[in-house]
Symmetry: C2
Subunit: 185 residues, 2 copies
């Protein structure tokens, strides 16, 4: 029987289910604040860092500070010293859906062999360049294509991907409006 096989995708589902139980009983611990700091370098080049976040009732500090350079590419007369900001959004969306696929597969006892995504966001630059006020600045649409090798039927693999979308933070952020407040100190 398939149920005799224990899938191991490296996701600690027991810990996640325990966290769900614990946070159900302590809703204030479930209030998280995710953070980044960004410093302008020159031109369109900036350097961002990610280290601390708030959760489980206190500031949490990592052992590592993650650092990211962002810039525009040379075709925009920039120096291409990092990925463009919109590409960071694509990385966030693809990695969120991919982590979700691994977690859902673990929970459903499906062994993953490989998961690869390509993601593409369409953008008409007539928006950000101010050529046409009817064109939005952001993506007109995003397509994510998955190639997944797993010990499962195609319909079960498709169900993994669907459940990951349903529980993805970044998918929600991109597909639904989020209020952003920008202030100058």
């Amino acid at each position: 029987m398939a149920s005799a096989v224990q899938a191991d995708n490296g996701v600690n589902v027991e810990a996640l289910l325990a966290a769900k139980e614990a946070l159900t009983n302590a809703p204030e611990a479930a209030q998280f604040k995710w953070r980044a700091a960004c410093e302008w370098k020159d031109g369109t080049h900036s350097h961002s860092t990610v280290e601390s976040f708030y959760g489980l009732g206190q500031d949490q500090h990592r052992k590592t500070t993650f650092a990211f350079d962002a810039d525009h590419p040379e075709v925009f007369a920039s120096l291409d010293q990092g990925a463009t900001p919109v590409e960071y959004v694509l990385v966030g969306l693809a990695s969120c859906l991919t982590a979700g696929i691994a977690a859902v597969a673990q929970n459903r006892n499906i062994q993953l062999k490989s998961v690869k995504a390509t993601i593409e966001g369409d953008m008409d630059l007539a928006g950000i360049l101010g050529i046409d006020s009817d064109v939005r600045n952001g993506f007109s649409g995003i397509t994510v294509k998955y190639a997944i090798d797993a010990d499962a039927k195609r319909e079960d693999i498709e169900a993994l991907v669907a459940q990951s979308q349903k529980r993805s933070a970044v998918y929600d952020i991109v597909t639904n409006p989020t209020n952003v407040t920008v202030v100058v100190n």
Copy 2:
């Protein structure tokens, strides 16, 4: 007179204005596709790369491939081998607004000395953990705080930030809904 001083923020505004002119006359060249590839490693850890994009009527290739690891932190029983996907979105938003501030300042002949942003996204984990279906998976809100040192009055600095929001691709993506299609090949 202030107009006698030439600000240099490292942004080639002449090239951007020339691009605007050129793309106004060749709208098909303004159709861009931004891309990333994401490969699952283990658990919630994935590795993404950013290199090519499509624009100006053809595939464009960079000299460098930018690489990014994403993971969940240790408090989620993961190995913290990279920033979390939602932190990538914060990096994208902060870096997009910051590049915009530099470009608008250049266009307005305002010399920037330093631009620093801190960005924070609030998230109630009751959403992604499936504890409360009324709570969204993504951020309940995002706050960006700028500290800007520039040769300009406070109201002019605030106007820079406002104009950057108005022209930011990532600000648009986060504050407005974007259609995302996910397919399994």
